[in-house]
Symmetry: C2
Subunit: 321 residues, 2 copies
């Protein structure tokens, strides 16, 4: 078996490559064919992860496979889409059977969790990088956009923030921590659960939504700009995990939650009348602020004082040294 046949062997043999709902034709021809039900749109998103930029060169391949697909699937969650399929473009300098097997297993694990079928891709020789394109379906007019937030809406997030930013020094080996602290943070970094059920529950309820990849402040800025509103965040309501608090202290954890990236938790706005129904339907929703007339994003303390400047300027966590 040639080395690139070896790659195809590992991926084409994975259970997620055996087709599924919405897959009319999978791997093996010039194109895959997807079935989109009448009355629905196909949602598409593409993400690239480059070794040495988005993950360390020596990253565990199982964890890398899991994380790469989770990051992409999070964009489907942010649109309220139901997952359908994905393609994988994998560029590799060397082809090691053990690396490939573990990577394919990690990918398979997340594909199974998300109900995503692998329908195609490309394998090429070159510096290690991955580009995943994910596909979902969403009923006409129900996709969650960034542009619908209205003054009076509540600003919410789908879970604790800052875990991935807190984990990064542990991933890079520049910091160590006790097991009860490092384990939950590393788990979130390597396998951020895409909030697909939350996204689907937000259809018809949320006025705007996205997934937090650049940090809460930056991503709220995207909603504020697209919706032409201001977002105000209550400092004391920003949810952080006990592990992050233990690692970084109160102020450090808050800064990681506001400015650290890679959370892949949904941020969204809802009219107040929708909140009760939403919290009955799905767990883990935190109200962290409100939509106001105006523009930009601010953070206020429990006295309503603007504390934004003191909280900016946290190290950005996208670039792996």
């Amino acid at each position: 078996m040639g080395e690139f046949e070896l790659i195809n062997h590992y991926f084409a043999a994975a259970p997620c490559a055996q087709g599924g709902e919405g897959v009319a034709l999978g791997i093996g021809d010039d194109c895959a064919l997807l079935q989109v039900p009448p009355g629905e749109h196909l949602a598409v998103s593409t993400d690239t992860l480059v070794a040495g930029v988005h993950f360390p060169h020596d990253a565990d391949p199982y964890l890398l496979g899991q994380r790469a697909l989770a990051v992409s699937a999070s964009d489907l969650a942010a649109m309220g889409a139901t997952p359908l399929a994905f393609t994988l473009a994998l560029t590799l300098a060397d082809v090691g059977a053990a690396w490939l097997k573990a990577f394919a297993e990690g990918l398979q694990c997340m594909a199974g969790q998300c109900r995503l079928s692998l329908v195609g891709g490309d394998t090429t020789r070159g510096p290690l990088s991955l580009t995943l394109t994910v596909f979902g379906r969403v009923p006409h007019g129900q996709a969650l956009r960034r542009s619908g937030a209205q003054p009076g809406d509540l600003l919410c997030v789908g879970g604790n923030l800052g875990n991935a930013a807190g984990a990064l020094p542990l991933v890079l080996g520049s910091q160590t921590a006790a097991q009860h602290i490092s384990a939950p943070l590393l788990a979130h970094y390597w396998s951020p659960p895409p909030q697909l059920a939350l996204g689907q529950t937000l259809r018809g309820r949320a006025s705007a939504a996205l997934d937090i990849s650049d940090g809460l402040l930056a991503d709220c800025g995207h909603i504020a700009k697209a919706s032409a509103v201001a977002l105000q965040i209550d400092r004391q309501r920003v949810p952080v995990s006990p592990a992050l608090h233990a690692l970084l202290g109160e102020q450090g954890a808050l800064q990681a939650a506001l400015s650290g990236g890679d959370d892949y938790v949904l941020a969204f706005t809802v009219p107040p009348a929708e909140l009760a129904g939403l919290t009955r339907a799905v767990a883990g929703v935190h109200v962290i602020g409100r939509v106001l007339p105006g523009q930009g994003v601010s953070v206020v303390d429990d006295q309503g004082r603007d504390v934004t400047p003191a909280l900016r300027g946290y190290q950005h966590f996208h670039a792996v040294p």
Copy 2:
């Protein structure tokens, strides 16, 4: 403007990023949304091009943009799909405004020719590579597959073969040629016209089809295997361009046509009864052989003698040294 905002500026401002038929939501949110008409499937294909492997590091960016999209769109042609949209994942070591502007213009030129809308993507820092994912639509049951060739069918191609293989030494600068020879070969290498009209015309007519990317012999092998038949090619009917013949001579041109890659010309099989209607509907179709019971691919001379072994072993043109 930050450098990655600069990238977004060039691509989001391109005419092909302004939406089009079938694009419900383009660039700017977590996902794009595509509209697939009832009764049609969405066709999807992903290709990666890596600098130093698939094109020289110093490739002209306009030509690179053109070629990258042409290569991907050829997969839509091979399925008989009508082009809809594409995403671009671009990884760059340095961001030069002149490079980006020229690349975006080349991409735009091919997008306009193919009627493909840019609906999203990702821009990351790292060693230069491109991953394009293209989308088309095709009526249920009419996609051109590799698996339907039947003994008695004719084997055809959509145009001259071997031009890209002949061009490669010129691209790499390891050979020169007179302008009347180099110009048409380089034009085909950098801008292979995706045979989209031919692919759509083959719907309901061809029994099997693909686009030639690995060389005629290798790609006919894919049809033979998927269809469980043998394909026999008549040596004297393999079409080559005058420029290729002038550059390589008769035997060299034939070897380039049989084993050189990157042609992006369609190869397909049709029942004999379909040929007259097909050649009335579209120009440039060449019958080059036939489908037989059995397996594998062979080349025969005008006496019917098997001349395959003498024609194998041509240098493979995929890897740029």
